[in-house]
Symmetry: C2
Subunit: 215 residues, 2 copies
DNA sequence: TCCCATCCATAACACCGTTATGATCGGACC
DNA sequence: GGTCCGATCATAACGGTGTTATGGATGGGA
């Protein structure tokens, strides 16, 4: 509770912000390379070249550091989905968005698990408030749906509900993929993920099409 | 590694099996009531009225105890899905199976998270081999699909792939529901879960129907 | 120049899973 | 019946964890 040390001229602010940035960077690296349980305050401090107290001055403790990691994870997920080019085909955009979302999760699976799982990192349980920061990405999906409806491709409906259906299917696949449960079927990407997304989208279209073949 | 102490006349076998049973029962209760991070060998032993060594003689350590909990969780999930009555309407059966599956997850959310999340319980990471025991439930879903195809209601397709699509959508909803992410939309059960399942099933039907209204 | 808030290094505390040791007890065998 | 043996678990110690208390160093504001 050191009173939110932002960069407003507090102490040696430049070097301090640098320590904070490096702590987050090293922590993310440790989680990505060695898995969530490998992250500890002591090992993190040693790898960053500081002491455990730095974690407390900058984040108030390990849960605070994890919160910051999750927030940055959502920020990157947001950026990744936002980077898909918007074409004249809203359905293609939605497919590309799904591919980008999945790629992001596969690139950093342990962080995705902490973001979305009821996963605990170490012993610190994240609460709903700690994850709500991730809903920017959901707003993006909603906008994809709104574009599709405005273009007359998707049926008029509640964009939030439709976006949530899309998210549910995609998140379900990603989680089963990361936990390897999806390995019960062969070639899951082509036999589960894209057929499922196609089933959903064609049900939402004004004039349903047979599932496309081009990936 | 005490050589699998089954009930074949080993020591005071009756009392021993009883201790093992109570350890599992108390551990499940602690996870259900206080969440996964609240489970520790010491508190579990104290609550069970024994010492931490009992965990090692019966399960080889905390990871082994968690494995046993996960196996029992899958067993109960299997029983829950198996208990849905089989009617002459395969689609109704699939809907009832989904409702039973979701109800099971909601009744013991932390255990579901350990079973399916890349969630860690304490610091012990479960491996794929520890969770493979849960695939009995998947076989059941596959059989539902096979019945639907045999009855001429569902299109002929790979039952495993179709079952995996169904599972993906359902698991995605359950996870988003347990983590409360689904709260971004109102009335998620009626605006997300059932519409999504209906979209999927109608895409799989020989003669698609409009989504049903009866819940 | 002085001062003071900030930052972090050190050490201690309580807790964790795990291991080593040994007492205890029930069943098997002679 | 006496004896032994092996499984079971109570106790204590070890290295790890997050966290807290303490104090020294450092750099900017008055």
């Amino acid at each position: 509770m050191a009173g939110s040390p932002d960069q407003t001229g507090a102490g040696r602010s430049a070097s301090s912000a640098e320590v904070r940035r490096r702590l987050l960077e090293v922590a993310a690296h440790m989680v990505r390379e060695q898995g969530a349980p490998a992250l500890s305050a002591r090992k993190l401090a040693a790898a960053t070249g500081t002491s455990t107290m730095a974690v407390y001055t900058h984040f108030g403790g390990m849960p605070g550091l994890v919160r910051a990691m999750v927030a940055e994870g959502f920020s990157r997920l947001f950026a990744r989905v936002a980077a898909v080019p918007i074409t004249e085909d809203p359905l293609l955009d939605l497919r590309n968005a799904a591919a980008a979302y999945r790629a992001h999760a596969r690139a950093d699976p342990d962080l995705y698990a902490v973001m979305f799982g009821s996963a605990t990192l170490g012993d610190y349980r994240l609460h709903y408030e700690d994850r709500i920061v991730g809903l920017d990405a959901f707003v993006q999906i909603k906008q994809f749906m709104e574009r599709g409806m405005a273009a007359g491709v998707l049926q008029e409906a509640d964009p939030a509900a439709v976006a949530a259906q899309w998210w549910t299917a995609l998140h379900g696949f990603v989680m089963l993929e990361l936990t390897r449960f999806i390995d019960v079927v062969d070639d899951a990407e082509d036999t589960v993920l894209w057929p499922l997304m196609d089933h959903l989208l064609s049900s939402l279209m004004v004039t349903p099409e047979p599932p496309r073949k081009d990936v």
